[in-house]
Amino acid sequence: MASRRPSPYPYWFVLPAAVVFVALFLVPTVASFWFSLTRWDLFDAEFIGWDNYRQFFKEPFLVQGLTNTLIYAVVTSGAKTVLGLLLAVLLTSGIWMQGFLRSVVFFPVLVSTIGVGITFAALMHPTRGVINLGLESIGIDGPAWLSDPALALYSVALIDIWKGVGLATLIYIAGLAAIAPEYYEASRIDGATRWQQFWRVTVPLVRPATVTVVTLSLIGGLRSFDIIWATTRGGPGFASDVLASVIYKQYQAGFYGLATAGNVILFLLIAIIILPLTYWFNKREVDL
């Protein structure tokens, strides 16, 4: 370690990145713990102790935002994981137009979220929207997708899944490609059906991809904001509010201390969910 010659891999290589990261990411993150304890209007910050947190948990719509965030994250990441795996299996089975289909499934990932939001708000219009007109033509009375309080959050989740499933599929396709064909060969000789092969070979061996998909989509789901803001803005009422949109509303109302407290809560929520999960994933990996 302690050679006389300076290392050929000097630490100053890290410096430019470190300066930007520390100044614009770490410092604000640490500062947020202080500001979340103040009443703050960007000019003066008045220390008010835990009041912001008390306020946050006192208000029913903020608590609803918390549960909505969890529901949204679980629904979107669950659906992306399951659908992504199924699509990946389908799109590696050598079907006709396979390459084109992969592109089609993936393309929404690259499109502007706001554009997607506006488009689906039009498609999901309760009386004039294409989706409900389509359902009507086959005799189904379509719901008010984005304005029915019981449905709005799930409709937004559906749009999110539509937009994001391509990424999960792609990761799974790469994961499937890494499975050696010998495993399938062996299980076929053992007389396994395709269904058994899927459960006994594909699912266990594609695990690293599953870990990635679940972690990425859970973090994404917990932090989700743009698509909700572009479609329902948290409405009707507070029915599809998630933590990120609640934080944004507090920010816009000028309650900067409260908004920052929300930020800290979101940070803790993600840490509480993701850290044990990655720990568990890693441990299982060693066991295998």
Binding site: L42, A121, A144, S147, P236, G254
Partner: protein
């Protein structure tokens, strides 16, 4: 990638040359996207440029409601406000911290023409006047379709029970009784805010006690009635099918063209109908929000929005000259010519034309009779919570019962009062 870069260079070139081609000074203006606001601003800026060719305007539109409040607040706080902007007077104006963020307009020439009643609602806590009126005073009540009323033989209701009886007949006739447009969430607040005349008729001290943190919506039956009205309309299923996504402009179209009978709204909607459906203007009528007692019914009045100049504007001098014009009789008449006279202007000597649309004619008698109008609560108290429009959407969509909603709003208000640093909160 390459193509992108070329187009970017071109974009820069075009943006630059188009900037050069213009006159010497361009004032940026931020207004809400209400058609009446747009028409008035376009007319009054065009007239100003005609007289002063060296000054042109770049008009930017923003959303209304809480979204709009947010845009204005954020841009003021971050020093990104246009040279001139329009925004509510009253409590929303107070929430902008006017003494820190806005130019002092107390001594400008145009204020000589402005009625004192308006100056009060754009006066900062330090006693200085910060805005000039933009547009007419408005009533908050209920638009109705005169044709439907004539066809069904209905009369203008004075009490809530009469109103609901009319609704029942409208529903029977297969029309939408109460047009509801929660796609623009701010439109959901009208039953609550427009009911204030009736609240103060019953509890005259409400505003003062409310500001002092003594009276609450949830504990004042008269104040809670607005929430209950919303709930009653939802329970009776009197709304249009697409109520959750319909917009303000949809609402004005529906009530003007007879798709629906009633639309609770501010009278600036008259300008929208004039812009979008001029042929239907004659079918549009208006009445004050009915309350519990037909004998004590009157109109809740909104002061017009104002034009303000941010303290940080580099073009404040020229912007103030423009505001002087807006506050002049000539400027006022220009706006009446463009947007129609949807209510009384607060400029001395600016009279409404004799032939006003029926909806305006319906409203004027309230102003002409003593004791028939009351200012909306937001002009009497600085306390207004940011989440009211979401809460009223909840009540109107059957998500939350009225009593619970009123209590929730009382909580919401607390945050704003604390942020303003009011005593007793």
């Amino acid at each position: 990638m390459k193509t992108l870069r070329y187009s970017a260079v071109m974009a820069a070139a075009i943006a630059w040359t188009s900037g050069m081609a213009q006159a010497e000074l361009t004032l940026s203006v931020l207004i809400d996207n209400n058609p009446e606001t747009i028409a008035s601003m376009e007319a009054v800026t065009a007239a100003y440029t005609a007289a002063n060719p060296e000054v042109t305007f770049d008009i930017e539109q923003r959303a209304g409601g809480a979204d709009g409040d947010n845009i204005v607040k954020t841009r003021l706080a971050t020093g990104e406000m246009a040279d001139i902007f329009n925004y509510n007077s009253g409590s929303l104006f107070q929430a902008l911290k006017p003494q820190e963020t806005m130019a002092d307009l107390t001594a400008i020439e145009g204020q000589a023409n402005v009625l004192d009643s308006f100056k009060q609602v754009v006066t900062a806590p330090d006693g200085t006047v910060r805005g000039v009126p933009f547009g007419p005073a408005m009533g908050g009540g209920i638009f109705y379709n005169r044709k439907i009323y004539a066809d069904l033989g209905l009369t203008v209701p004075k009490s809530w029970d009469e109103f609901m009886a009319n609704n029942a007949k409208v529903a029977e006739a297969g029309k939408v009784p109460v047009i509801t447009t929660f796609g623009d969430t701010w439109t959901s607040q009208l039953f609550v805010l427009g009911d204030y005349f009736n609240v103060q008729a019953e509890v005259p001290t409400f505003a003062a006690e409310y500001t002092a943190n003594k009276a609450k919506y949830a504990s004042t039956p008269a104040a809670m009635r607005g929430f209950e009205y919303l709930e009653a309309v939802f329970k009776a299923n009197y709304m249009n099918e697409d109520f959750g996504v319909a917009s303000f402009e949809d609402g004005m179209r529906m009530v003007a063209t007879g798709e629906g009978a009633h639309y609770p709204m501010l009278t600036f909607g008259i300008g929208t109908v004039k812009q979008n459906h001029p042929d239907s203007l004659a079918d549009l009528g208006f009445f004050a929000q009915p309350g519990p007692d037909a004998a004590k019914n009157g109109l809740t009045v909104w002061m017009p929005a104002a034009l303000y100049v941010p303290a940080a504007s580099p073009n404040a001098e020229e912007a103030i000259k423009f505001l002087n014009f807006v506050a002049s009789v000539e400027g006022c008449n220009t706006m009446i010519g463009a947007a129609g006279a949807s209510g009384p202007y607060l400029i001395k000597g600016c009279e409404l034309p004799a032939d006003v649309p029926p909806a305006v004619a319906d409203m004027l008698p309230y102003f002409q009779t003593e004791g028939m109008t009351a200012p909306a609560l937001e002009f009497l108290s600085p306390v207004k919570g940011p989440a009211l429009e979401q809460i009223t959407v909840e009540v109107g969509s059957g998500i939350r019962p009225a009593a619970e909603a009123a209590a929730l709003y009382d909580q919401d208000v607390e945050k704003q009062a604390k942020q303003l640093g009011l005593p007793n909160w």
